[in-house]
């Protein structure tokens, strides 16, 4: 079952439709409801290796639906501490729960200050309205 549209207030958002939940020097990353809805049911998550380096604004993974593949853009720079194996095994988890069970990676942030450049939920919703 696809989730209902939502953009939680406790997350930071990247214009390429990625979110970050920043907790101290670490963050959990994923794709937004908008991204998963645009792609449709995900059937493949091409995950980075644990230990891989993420650079803000650059692709670090791919998510793929039946019809299309899409790069996942890093909202923040960091080192991958953990990949969500549940999503690798069942990519549709992202459609069902994009901000919870459908998280993609957990990273140790290289520069926690980068988060200041991301949008809050209100700004991201405004961004979606302008893009749409």
């Amino acid at each position: 079952m696809a989730a209902a549209e939502s953009y939680p207030d406790d997350l930071r958002y990247h214009p390429e439709h990625d979110w970050a939940r920043v907790e101290g020097g670490e963050a959990t990353l994923g794709v937004t409801w908008f991204a998963q809805d645009a792609l449709g049911e995900l059937v493949h998550f091409e995950a980075p290796e644990e230990g891989a380096t993420l650079t803000k604004d650059q692709a670090y993974a791919e998510v793929e639906s039946v019809k299309a593949v899409s790069d996942v853009i890093a909202p923040l720079s960091g080192e991958v501490l953990e990949v969500n194996r549940a999503v690798a095994d069942a990519p549709e988890t992202v459609n069902e729960d994009p901000y919870g069970e459908g998280w993609l990676v957990r990273v140790r942030l290289t520069d926690p200050g980068e988060a200041a450049a991301l949008m809050d939920a209100a700004a991201y919703k405004q961004h979606l309205a302008e893009e749409g």
């Binding site: 449709g40 049911e41 059937v43 493949h44 091409e46 791919e62 793929e64 639906s65 039946v66 019809k67 593949v69 690798a88």
Partner: protein, 323 residues
């Protein structure tokens, strides 16, 4: 026709388990008629038109002098001197031009695409939901669904039992509504593609083209070489010497989805690739050297710079018996 309504995967599964409807009105319809129509079609189509009679249809190829495939289509004998060709939308004009340039004095081709809408209803419960009796594949007859008159063709592009309903454009909306009211799931282009790929029906423009021949494509079974159709001699030579490459079906052994145009490292290229909702893994078609076309042969697909293992399988990739 949209790419999807509710989603490619649920639509695909509806067709495999129950019934789905596709608005394929974009397809082209050509009429070839006249005293010489049969003889003319026999000279340009690969299958044996002599085996048709009114009420019978046939899958066939329009071939060029090199044995290449101008289009793949279904020919319906409407009457002894009148045939309907249902052709790929993208090739409608090319097919018309091809036939028109070659038509003899006693046969005439007409593009009647704008006079027809086409609704495919496919799946193991398609006939039951439409209230239609069973009938042999590749037959057709006039019929009606909830009072809407249509031609009921026992054809399809999904590997499932079902029909394709040829209807006047002004009645198509009403027919579509009736079909959906009976619990048939509306399906889009996405599911149409994954369904045909699972059963290895080639897609013109991807897997077959004017540059690929019928023998290499595994379509020798629709080539009646003795009828002397365009390119038959070339195809006979390819058949006798054995094709260099064969259109082969493969499934991914590693998590990855092959896509059209991806290189096959052992030699060749993916011509169609997607995710199989029934197998829940990547599947595809591609031309590989004949010696690699044997089932169980390992292939390596270059998935955007990553090498992923695949295995050649017998066609079709998915069949009903495996349920």
């Amino acid at each position: 026709m949209p790419v999807q309504y509710e989603g490619v995967i649920p639509e695909h599964r509806a067709v495999r388990s129950d019934a789905g409807a596709f608005d394929v009105s974009h397809m082209g319809e050509l009429i070839v008629e006249g005293k010489g129509a049969r003889e003319f079609l026999q000279s340009v189509l690969s299958n044996d038109v002599e085996r048709l009679e009114p009420g019978l249809a046939q899958y066939t190829l329009l071939t060029n002098e090199r044995g290449g495939i101008v289009d793949d289509l279904i020919v319906y004998e409407l009457a002894p001197e009148r045939f309907l060709l249902i052709v790929n939308a993208a090739n409608r004009e090319a097919d018309f031009d091809w036939l028109h340039e070659r038509e003899p004095d006693d046969a005439k081709v007409r593009d009647v695409s704008d006079d027809h809408a086409l609704i495919a209803v496919q799946g193991p419960r398609a006939l039951e939901r439409l209230g239609l009796p069973a009938a042999p594949a590749f037959t057709f007859a006039e019929g009606e669904i909830a009072g809407v008159v249509c031609t009921v063709n026992r054809t399809g592009y999904t590997g499932e039992e079902g029909v394709e309903l040829l209807v006047a454009p002004e009645a198509a909306g009403e027919l579509w509504d009736h079909v959906l009211e009976r619990g048939v799931v509306p399906c889009g282009l996405g599911a149409r593609d994954t369904l045909r790929l699972e059963v290895c029906y080639p897609l013109h423009g991807n897997d077959i083209s004017p540059e690929t021949d019928a023998i290499s494509a595994g379509l020798g079974w629709v080539c009646a070489l003795d009828t002397g159709f365009t390119g038959a001699e070339v195809l006979r030579r390819i058949k006798e010497s054995g094709p260099e490459q064969k259109l082969s079906a493969f499934v991914m052994e590693e998590a990855a989805i092959p896509r059209q145009g991806m290189p096959i490292l052992e030699g060749g290229e993916v011509t169609s690739g997607s995710h199989s909702p029934m197998l829940e893994r990547g599947i595809g078609l591609g031309y590989v050297l004949a010696e690699l076309a044997q089932p169980e042969t390992e292939l390596t697909i270059d998935v955007r710079g990553r090498n992923r293992r695949a295995r050649v399988v017998k066609k079709p990739i998915y069949s009903r018996e495996e349920r």
